[in-house]
C-alpha cells in the first residue's frame, strides 16, 4: 500500500505546478463558472456537502465521545450507584475529597506512575535502537518488521495469561532462567517491585515493535544530505545519530511519548489478568493496582459510579497537566536549539 501511495504521490505535486496550457485553463474555468451560475442546486451542493461529509463523524463523536466526557464530570459531583444509575444525589466535591483521603487512590496513582515509567521509558529507548538498526540495509528486513509486530496482534488477554505462566514463582520459565544465572527466584505476582516489573514487561513486549516502526518511518524521512554534510564535518556514526537523527525525530518522539503516556495512564487489562487471586485489587496488597483498575473496582465492584467518575476526571486532569508540560518542554527544546 505504501508502495503505491509513495510512487503515486510525486506526480501529483509535480503535475500540479506546470498546469495545463493557460488557454485551456481559462476556458475550463469559464465553463465551470457558467455551470455554477446556472444551477442553484449545484451551489447548495458545494456549500453544504462538506458538512454532510463530516457530520456523521461528529454526530457519533458527540454521542459517544463528548457527551460521556462531560457527563462523567457531572456524575463525579453526585452520589450514583451502579444498581440505580439514574438516581443521582448532588454531593458537590465530596467524591473528590474522599478520594484524596483514600490511601488506595494514592497507592493506585503511585503504581500507575511507576508502571508507566518502567514500561514507557525502556519501551521507547529500545524502539529507538531497533529502528536505528532496521534503518540499515538488512536482508529479510520485512520479515523482521512483521515479526516484531506480532506482539501487537496479540490481545491483552492472551498476552497477560501467557506472561502469568512465564512469571510463575515455582515453575515459571523466567525464574528458571534466573536460577540458571545464579539469581534467587522472585515472587513475580506478590512482591511489589517484581510484580510491577512483570506487568510492565507485558506492556513493553506488546508495544516496542509498534513504536520501532513509527521511529523507523520518521528516520527514513530524514534527508540524506544532512548525514552527508555531517560526515564531511567529520562526525562519526554516533555523533550523526546524536546531532542529526535525534533532532529530526523530535516531533515523532514527542508524539510517541504523548501516546504512550495516555496508554500508560489507563493500564487496565494487564494488572487485572495478572492477579493470582483473579481479583480487582491488583494483587493481595494492591501492589500493582493501577488507576484504571481502581476505577473499575470502585465502579463495578463497590458499585459507586459517582466515585469512579471522580477517578476518571482526576485521570483526565492529570493527563491535561502532562500534556501542557510536554508542550512547554518541547517548545523550550525547540527554542534552545
Amino acid at each position: 500500500m505504501t508502495t503505491r501511495h509513495d510512487t503515486a504521490a510525486p506526480p501529483t505535486e509535480g503535475g500540479a505546478a506546470p498546469g495545463r496550457p493557460p488557454g485551456d485553463a481559462v476556458a475550463a474555468q469559464k465553463e465551470r463558472r457558467r455551470r455554477e451560475r446556472l444551477s442553484r442546486r449545484w451551489q447548495r451542493d458545494l456549500r453544504w456537502s462538506p458538512y454532510a461529509f463530516v457530520s456523521p463523524f461528529f454526530l457519533l463523536f458527540i454521542a459517544f465521545g463528548l457527551f460521556p466526557l462531560i457527563y462523567t464530570g457531572w456524575a463525579s459531583l453526585h452520589q450514583v450507584e451502579l444498581t440505580a444509575p439514574t438516581d443521582m444525589n448532588w454531593v458537590g466535591m465530596r467524591n473528590y475529597t474522599r478520594l484524596f483521603d483514600d490511601d488506595f487512590f494514592w497507592n493506585a496513582a503511585k503504581n500507575t506512575l511507576t508502571i508507566g515509567i518502567i514500561s514507557t521509558v525502556p519501551q521507547l529507548l529500545m524502539a529507538m535502537g531497533i529502528a536505528h538498526i532496521l534503518n540499515y540495509k538488512l536482508r529479510a528486513s520485512t520479515f523482521f518488521r512483521v515479526a516484531m509486530l506480532a506482539p501487537y496482534a496479540t490481545s491483552i488477554a492472551a498476552a497477560s495469561l501467557v506472561f502469568v505462566l512465564l512469571f510463575g514463582r515455582d515453575y515459571g520459565m523466567i525464574n528458571w532462567a534466573l536460577d540458571f544465572a545464579g539469581i534467587d527466584p522472585l515472587d513475580w505476582q506478590n512482591d511489589k517491585w517484581p510484580s510491577q516489573i512483570a506487568v510492565s514487561t507485558i506492556i513493553v513486549w506488546r508495544w516496542t515493535g509498534y513504536n520501532a516502526l513509527i521511529y523507523l518511518a520518521a528516520m527514513q524521512a530524514i534527508p540524506h544530505d544532512l548525514y552527508e554534510s555531517a560526515a564531511l564535518d567529520g562526525a562519526n556514526r554516533w555523533q550523526q545519530f546524536i546531532h542529526v537523527t535525534l533532532p529530526s525525530l523530535r516531533p515523532t518522539i514527542l508524539f510517541t511519548v504523548v501516546v504512550s503516556t495516555i496508554g500508560a495512564s489507563q493500564v487496565f487489562g494487564e494488572p487485572l489478568l495478572f492477579d493470582a487471586n483473579k481479583g480487582t485489587s491488583g494483587g493481595a496488597e494492591h501492589q500493582f493496582q493501577t488507576l484504571g483498575l481502581y476505577l473499575y473496582e470502585q465502579g463495578w465492584v463497590a458499585q459507586h459510579l459517582g466515585r469512579a467518575s471522580a477517578i476518571a476526571w482526576t485521570m483526565f486532569l492529570i493527563l491535561i497537566v502532562i500534556g501542557i508540560v510536554n508542550y512547554v518542554l518541547s517548545r523550550r527544546l525547540r527554542a534552545s536549539s
Binding site: M1, R32, L69, L161, Y171, M173, A221, L232, L305, A312
Partner: protein
Amino acid sequence: MTTTLTPPDAKPPAERARRPRMPKSARAGGQLHGGPIAYAIMIVFTIVSLFPLVWTAIAASRDNQRLAQTPPPFWFGSGLFDKLEIAWKDANLGEAFLNTTIVAGVSAATIVVLSTIAGFAFAKLRFRGRGALMLIVIGTMMVPPQLSVIPLYMMVAKLDWTDQLQAVIFPSLVSAFGVFFMRQYLIQALPDEIIEAARVDGASSWRVVWHVVFPAARPAMAVLGMLTFVQTWNDFMWPFLVLTQMGNPTVQVAVAGLGRGYTPDQSLIMAGALLGTLPLLLVFAIFGKQIVGGIMQGAVKG
C-alpha cells in the same frame, strides 16, 4: 551538493535499493549495510517477540503436571489438538469468534467509510469552520476512552443493551485517528484536477465521492480497515464491562474467562489464548507487509 561520500552499496547494481518501494528510504536509510551485530540484535529481538507466542502453543500441548515441573517444557507434547478442542467448547469460542467478527467487521467497515468521506472533506473541500473542526478531531485523539466508560455504561444499561453486541459496536464506530489518517492520505493521493474534472462534467459531491474519492482512497482504506479490525478484535476493557461472560462474549472476554476458574487449568488457558490470537496472526502473516506500511505511513505524516 557534494558527492564525495560514496555510499558503500553504490558499486553493485544493488537491486534492493532500486525497488520502487519507498524510494526515500532506499536513499536515506538503505545506505549502510548492517553488520553481524545488527543481525544478531534483530534475531534476538525477533526471538523475544515470537517466543511467548510459540510457547503458548507448547504449553497448550502439555498437561498441567508437566507445566508444574522445572525445567519448563521447551518442546511440544502430544495434547495440542485435544486441548484446543476442549478450550473451543469450554469457552464457547465458536460463538465468540462469530461475535467478534461481527463487531470488528461492522466497526471497521463503518470507520473506514465515515473516515474516508470526512477525511476527503477536510483534505479537499473548502468550508467554514474547517480548521476548527479539524483541531477538534485531533484533540479527541487525546481523550482517554476510560473517561467515557461510565456514562456509556449507563446509556447501555438504560437501553437494555447489556450483554448484547450493539453495546460493543456503537461506541467503536468513531475514530478520530481514522479521519486524520484518511485526510493525510487524500491530500497527496487525490489530485485536485481530477475532482475539478469530475465537477466540470457535472458530477455532484456524492458522485465525486463515489466515483473519484473511493477508488483513489482504496489502498489507505484497506490499511485503515485492517488496523481498525485488529484494534477492535483485541479490545478488552469495554467488552469486558458490558458483556458478562454468560451472554455473547467476544473472543477476548471468553479467553479471559478461561483464566478465572477456582482451579485454573493452565494448559487449557493457553489453548484458549492461542485460539484467540491465531486468526490475527494469520492476518498478519498474510498482510503483514501492508500493515507495517500502513503504520509507518500513518506515523510519518503524523
